[in-house]
Amino acid sequence: MHAFEYHRPKSMKDALSLLRKVDNAKPLAGGQSLVAALKLRLAKPGALVDLGALEELGGIKLEGGTLTIGALTRHSDVAGSKDVAIGIPALARLAGGIGDRQVRNQGTLGGSLANNDPAADYPAAALGLGATIKTNKREIAADKFFTGLFETALRPGEVIVSVSFPLPKRAAYVKFRNPASRFALVGVFVSESAGTVRVAVTGAGQDGVFRAKTMEKRLAENFSPDAIAKVRISADDLSSDVHASAEYRAHLVTVLAQRAVAAAIAGK
């Protein structure tokens, strides 16, 4: 680990001012990706601003057709939340399948979205549900938030405060795990809301999470696995690595999307 300054502000105001003032300062949430990157000397921030003491970044609220989750909410709290289970059970199940128990106990929603790992689960949920990411400065639609590999629309000094998920009529997430990392080799989040269908794919895209729009169109016409059985995602923009070829990933997208649709219909 390279040397860095460490700050643990007690208020959001202090946190933002530190992030503004200190050179190359990086916010620290649960740290489940960032600390690992620090250890491998892959990240070299000048300072860490630990958001851990900011209680205003926690909390889960279900009201008016929207589920709002504070940025610092741990995965295991999302997985175990009654409100989430009532509002978007698919999201609870997704959170319960992130990493492993210990990682879920520390990792946070905001941290995961801000990191935008191309194989992470939460980006698929945010995009697949059409979430809105609320920062200290503005509200960003998920469609505009994920801008590339480990890249987001967040600007320096901008911190995620909460994420609002509109409640879908039905939804499901199906993940095919990388047997080593347990991240998604491919994961597909499908949701259906009044008249619109979203299909978000993680683990597969060279630029991170993306929407499978052809599938969305077919499913909007006919929300059934058969409707997309023949839809093939082009392998051209998918990643190929030691774990899977782009071609296999493309194949999995179709298989998993069908399974997600079936699960959404079955309410599982």
Partner: protein, 792 residues
């Protein structure tokens, strides 16, 4: 008298310290004034080092010293030795290029050791390492086994211009060729035995210190054989007198072969401890383990089996190229030869076997023994061939095996080994029952209805454990003995300390060895302690590898007990005023034959240490005996593994739904521990078959699977519950009748899994799938078979 302890599932004596966090692993050792070492490693697979500038690093905060290969050369530190000399088919010794602990002039694999920084803290050592300026001239790398001997291939060592360490063969080629030309059926397979990274959960670690007071060194190291480590380090590398180096291998968190070897890191810090006159600690990070622990397997093989009309095997021909990596690790050379080709008879009467092995250097980490070491590779060859031949001849694979089983013992194979005993029919019969093979057809049908493909595969393996005897091994090139030492100290009050040269790093010797001793000496097991892993306390030891501990180390202990009993009889005879020849001994009791007059071992021990009534004119006081034991032969555990898989045809994902292992380890000392050893071996064998594959970039030689992010070892939810059974045909040439059980699972499982997968896919036209059988590989095999059928 209590019930015998041998054969009982006694709970482990070592568990309480491990469960409470009181274990003492190497990294737990903290010495006063200790510094930290960090090794700068090569970022390139192959490069010339034009220049190393350590000026800035030496001046960095907290840095105590920085050393490079030049410093070691100037101090006349030697290269790391190889412990087994293989003779090439042309009669020449194998090529043994130098293996400097820190690179000299060239780096030969990504992770090769370039320099060491010793600093007050690990952070400081790492920070300083970044300041070392190395000017590399990057060279092309040779990475894949298949590329090593291509004309014009990059040369790894000038001493081996064709990248060939040796070509070695065993068996009668002429006779094999003749049998093949007369064969009714020839089954041919070509495959890769995938490269593996051992990944004991405790990373390698070492703490070295030097004492000016007695000019002596102490090295704590995570190692499986501290005496061998000391011998190699003192005699071959550092030129130190052996009695001035104490090597302690305390609690060791798994080894699986990877901690047998003498590595650069502990060698360098031992040397450096005197230079800096401070203790030095080095602990590998997992990424370093991936880069620099000796890897396992990595063979490319073409194998053929000839059969007659009735399915009798008439000959086998095998050609293997084995990757040794960039340097010869401690026992690298004997793994793909002595421990591989000699196992190709398996459980069968194949009369003629010929095998040729070419061992090559590449720009990858050194390859050496990993759980099974040569025997899993041999079993894979034999068992994949047999199963495939059965399918090609439309014979029941179990029946084909039965037709070829060896049934008369001792049996001399055509590849050097002399099996002393076994009952292969019995293990197979038990396995068929336990696995409910009779019900498989129904289970397959049920799976089909659920849209799944189900397959069943066998592996009836043989292994050779307790490699021996020393003189024979010596004639085959071994540069070390293969005996074991043990010492029994009966204390005045009758409690016992046992010193063994075997080392336990999970095997439970502190319990099983204590069971044997407590049983033979008739003392409570609580009063028997097993001491191991310290050259300062144990007279000698060859350590633990090749499933040898109970068969060789256990026998050395028995020999020492025999001496205790012999002396005890003399003492008892004196105390009981009887003739020595009239004293009978049974589990702690010395009795005058035909009477109830007796002395217990405790009474005898007390008399030996308080020799007031004692034949001092004829007998030394004390009750402490040691023994060395060199076995007369290998032991030959064998077994039948049956695997059942289900494959999701949409994704290719394979799940093991049943796994049955029935093994014959001879006499079992502690069934609970033996079962645990089988479970662990199976997990690693299944890991090889389904999950584990070490991959280097074929061009750059960069390790692509260098962390647990990219290299999968089995987790709890990857594995089924195993059904495990044992049969006992006692070994005929050691007093306990034991054979060894540590590697069996890893030896038998890969072939069973792959035979099950290919069974499931056979109807689709799939003939083989490469290990690890990842979802994509299985899916692709199905796709390409589909494509072929369409084309046909």
């Amino acid at each position: 008298m209590n019930a015998p302890l041998i054969g009982q599932s006694i709970k482990r004596k070592e568990d309480v310290r491990f469960l409470t966090g009181a274990g003492q692993y190497t990294d737990d050792v903290a010495l006063t004034g200790q510094t930290y070492a960090y090794f700068l490693r090569s970022p390139h697979a192959h490069a010339k080092i034009r220049r190393i500038d350590v000026t800035q690093a030496r001046a960095a905060p907290g840095v105590v010293a920085v050393f490079t290969g030049d410093d070691l050369a100037a101090a006349k530190v030697g290269g790391l030795p190889c412990g087994w000399l293989i003779t090439d088919v042309n009669g020449q010794p194998m090529k043994e290029p130098p293996h400097p602990p820190l690179a000299q002039g060239k780096v030969r694999y990504a992770g090769d050791h370039v320099a060491v920084v010793i600093a007050e803290t690990l952070h400081q050592a790492k920070d300083a390492a970044e300041l070392i300026d190395v000017d590399y001239e990057v060279l092309p790398a040779v990475v894949k086994v298949e590329d090593a001997r291509k004309p014009g291939a990059q040369v790894v060592h000038e001493a081996a211009p064709d990248n060939t360490c040796y070509v070695w063969s065993i068996g009668d080629k002429g006779a094999a060729d003749k049998a093949f030309s007369a064969a009714h059926q020839v089954t041919t397979l070509e495959f890769i035995n995938n490269r593996l990274v051992p990944n004991a959960i405790e990373p390698r670690a070492a703490v070295a210190s030097y004492s000016r007071a007695d000019d002596a060194y102490t090295l704590y190291v995570a190692n499986q054989n501290p005496h061998v480590e000391r011998l190699l380090m003192t005699a071959f590398v550092l030129g130190l007198p052996e009695h001035k180096v104490r090597v302690i291998a305390p609690d060791v968190g798994g080894g699986f072969g990877s901690k047998i070897y003498l590595y650069a890191e502990e060698t360098v810090i031992t040397w450096a401890a005197k230079q800096v006159n401070r203790p030095i600690k080095w602990t590998a990070e997992r990424s370093e383990s991936f880069l620099s622990d000796a890897h396992g397997r990595d063979h490319v093989t073409k194998a053929e089996l000839a059969l007659d009309r009735n399915g009798k095997f008439t000959a086998m021909r095998v050609t293997t190229t084995a990757n040794l990596g960039a340097y010869l690790s401690t026992f690298a050379s004997c793994i793909p030869t002595i421990l591989y080709a000699t196992l190709l008879a398996g459980q069968y009467t194949t009369p003629v076997i010929y095998c040729e092995v070419t061992a090559v250097f590449t720009n990858t980490a050194p390859v050496d023994a990993y759980r099974g070491a040569g025997r899993p590779e041999a079993t894979y060859v034999v068992e994949r061939l047999v199963e495939t031949a059965a399918r090609e001849m439309k014979l029941d694979p179990a029946e084909l095996r039965r037709r070829n089983f060896i049934r008369e013992f001792p049996y001399q194979t055509p590849v050097a080994l002399l099996y002393d005993t076994g009952d292969y029919e019995a293990t197979l019969a038990e396995a068929l029952k336990l696995a409910d093979v009779a019900g498989f057809a129904a289970r397959r049908k049920d799976a089909e209805q659920r849209g799944k493909l189900r397959g069943l595969g066998y592996s009836t393996y043989i292994e050779a454990c307790g490699i021996a005897p020393s003189n024979v091994a010596g004639s085959l090139g071994a540069r070390a003995g293969l005996f074991e030492a043990g010492e029994i100290r009966v204390h005045p009050t009758g409690s016992v300390t046992v010193f063994t040269g075997s080392h336990a790093h999970g095997q439970g010797h502190e319990t099983t060895f204590a069971q044997v001793v407590a049983d033979r000496l008739g003392v409570a097991i609580e009063n028997v302690d097993i001491v191991h892993g310290d050259t300062g306390r144990i007279l000698f030891g060859m350590g633990t590898y090749g499933s040898r501990s109970i068969a060789v180390g256990g026998t050395a202990i028995i020999k020492a007990i025999d001496k205790i009993v012999a002396k005890g009889k003399k003492i008892a005879a004196h105390l009981l005023e009887a003739a020595e020849s009239d004293i009978e001994y049974d589990r702690g009791n010395f009795t005058v034959a035909g009477t109830d007059r007796k002395k217990t071992i405790g009474e005898v021990a007390f008399a030996a240490y308080v020799p007031h009534n004692y034949p001092l004119d004829k007998l030394e006081p004390g009750l402490n005996e040691s023994a060395f034991y060199d076995p007369t032969n290998f032991t030959f555990p064998a077994g039948s593994h049956i695997c059942e898989v289900e494959i999701d045809p949409d994704t290719g994902q394979t799940r093991i739904v049943n796994f049955t292992a029935v093994d014959d380890f001879g006499k079992v000392i502690n069934p609970m521990i033996v079962e645990g050893q089988v479970h662990g071996g199976l997990a690693q064998g299944i890991g090889q078959a389904l999950l584990e594959g070490c991959v280097y970039d074929p061009e750059s030689g960069q390790l692509l699977t260098g962390t647990f992010m990219d290299y999968a070892i089995p987790r709890a939810d990857d594995l089924p519950n195993f059904k495990v059974g044992t049969q006992e045909t006692p070994c005929t040439h050691n007093p306990l009748g034991v054979k060894g059980c540590g590697e069996a699972g890893a030896i038998g499982a890969p072939a069973a899994v792959m035979n099950a997968i290919t069974d499931a896919l056979w109807p689709l036209g799939v003939r083989d799938v490469e290990m690890p059988a990842t979802s994509e590989r299985v899916w692709r095999a199905m796709q390409s078979a589909k494509g072929k059928r369409k084309a046909a």
